[in-house]
């Protein structure tokens, strides 16, 4: 493992973060659905992360003075810290994506952030008939969602699932992606800064859409 060097944050951050660049890129891809835009988002995220790196250490390791910060930065970067760094950058990527989309939708005078709107009826299943086991107004719990997932696991995705995945909105795609990366609901809620229930309902809705044509 390499260590942070006080006087060259750029180089050391590049070396440390490179391990998670692909993961960050894939998350970006889940948001943008476009390789070129995903690369741009990844770069934008890395540059923002570099500038905010001292703040990241301050916030997570409760260091205040420049001396403490330099000392911490010179310590070995553990795997946990790398994971923490990736999660932090996922948050940055999500915010950057929303910012850029907000700007573009604002320019076009469209309703912004409709996919992430809190006004959605998160606890209602829009495709309950297809899910088949829950009442339309039934609230999801981690247990009921696990049951749904288990049911879903038994069904293989057909070859067209990727097309249907592309039709999901950004929030659904990112939640599916993070869930597939074995992030817990709680972690996803924290990363995407949305309520736990929203994660569960969105995942349920997205799964039901993905299995639409599955036999």
């Amino acid at each position: 493992m390499t260590t942070f060097v006080k006087k060259n944050w750029n180089e050391v951050f590049q070396q440390h973060s490179e391990v998670v660049w692909d993961s960050l890129y894939r998350f970006s891809l889940s948001l943008t659905r476009n390789q070129s835009e995903a690369e741009d988002l990844t770069q934008q995220t890395l540059l923002k992360a570099l500038q905010a790196l001292p703040g990241f250490f301050k916030a997570n390791y409760f260091v205040e003075t420049p001396e403490e910060l330099d000392k911490l930065a010179s310590e070995t970067m553990t795997q946990d810290l790398q994971k923490h760094l990736l999660n932090w950058m996922i948050k940055i990527a999500k915010n950057s994506f929303l910012d850029s989309r907000n700007r573009s939708t604002h320019k076009l005078n469209h309703i912004s952030l409709e996919d992430w709107s809190e006004s959605e009826d998160f606890f209602h299943l829009s495709s309950t008939a297809e899910v088949g086991r829950t009442h339309p107004k039934q609230q999801l719990t981690p247990d009921s969602l696990s049951q749904l997932e288990n049911d879903f696991f038994e069904l293989a995705l057909d070859d067209d699932w990727q097309k249907r995945f592309e039709d999901l909105n950004a929030r659904q795609r990112s939640i599916i992606f993070l869930s597939a990366e074995e992030y817990s609901y709680k972690e996803i809620a924290q990363l995407l800064d949305i309520p736990l229930g929203t994660v569960m309902s969105t995942l349920s809705r997205a799964l039901s859409k993905l299995r639409k044509s599955a036999k």
Binding site: N8, W9, N10, E11, F13, Q14, E18, W21, D22, Y25, R26, L29, S30, Q35, E39, T42, Q43, L46, L47, L50, Q51, A52, L53, P54, T65, P66, L69, D70, A73, F152, F153, E154, L155, A156, L157, D158, W161, Q162, F165, I176, F177, S179, A180, E181, E182, L207, L210, K215
Partner: protein, 237 residues
């Protein structure tokens, strides 16, 4: 796939995971990212420096309205104190001279038509300064120009005179748009520093946006300016 054993059927997580894992950054993209990171400015790890003036919390004004008024008053006072001397310092006396209304605007105080020599008496009387005629410049001016109407005025708290001058050379007179105005001003110490010792020709934008040529110079305590419209200025005086 549906005929497979459920245990062997890939879960949606694995399918999604495998789908995304096919995507990775290309070598070129990685190089671009490395370059972008290395070229980016380094993050600052140091706290902002303290300001020059630090007000102890106990002495801070708690009333936001009064605090705003006080701040505004202090800012206005500071601006006034700083801007006023600055504007005085940047005053361009030459440009200001060219903007003065000439004898054409106001009724003339005197007319030297046909009596050029009276110009000496008038300006001598005005300035009452024995050093004034040490210079032979008025004589040079009179060698090429004929004075006509003129008026007295005050400039920078000192007496001044403006006299319309007509070129004696007919060709030059035709070339000129109109009469040239000779301005003679007594210079304050501040204005002396802004007046060139040597003859200097400048173009100054007039009030109507029309460029005017002005030839200025200084002789002791007196400033001279020959102001005319944007036509070729002859070499005199």
């Amino acid at each position: 796939m549906n005929n497979q054993n459920p245990r062997e059927v890939p879960t949606w997580k694995k399918q999604v995971h495998d789908y995304f894992n096919k995507n990775e950054l290309s070598t070129e993209s990685r190089s671009r990212l490395r370059a972008a990171l290395l070229l980016a400015s380094s993050p600052s790890t140091h706290q902002p420096k303290q300001t020059l003036i630090t007000i102890p919390p106990s002495t801070r004004w708690k009333n936001p309205v009064l605090s705003s008024i006080l701040s505004a008053a202090l800012a206005a006072s500071f601006t006034f104190l700083m801007v006023k001397p600055a504007s005085e310092e940047t005053l361009d006396p030459i440009a200001e001279l060219t903007q003065l209304p000439g004898p054409k605007v106001y009724p003339p105080d005197f007319d030297l038509e046909g009596d050029s020599r009276a110009m000496h008496d008038i300006v001598y009387e005005l300035f009452a300064d024995k050093n004034f005629f040490v210079s032979d410049l008025p004589a040079q001016v009179l060698a090429e120009y004929k004075p006509s109407e003129g008026r007295f005025f005050s400039w920078d708290g000192e007496p001044a005179v403006s006299i319309q001058m007509h070129h004696q050379n007919t060709a030059q007179a035709k070339k000129a748009n109109g009469p040239t105005t000779l301005l003679i001003v007594k210079l304050s110490e501040k204005s002396q520093r802004k007046f060139p010792n040597e003859k200097l020709t400048r173009k100054v934008a007039g009030k109507a946006g029309k460029m005017r040529k002005v030839k200025v110079w200084r002789e002791g305590n007196f400033g001279y300016a020959m102001v005319q419209d944007a036509v070729a200025v002859n070499d005199t005086p």
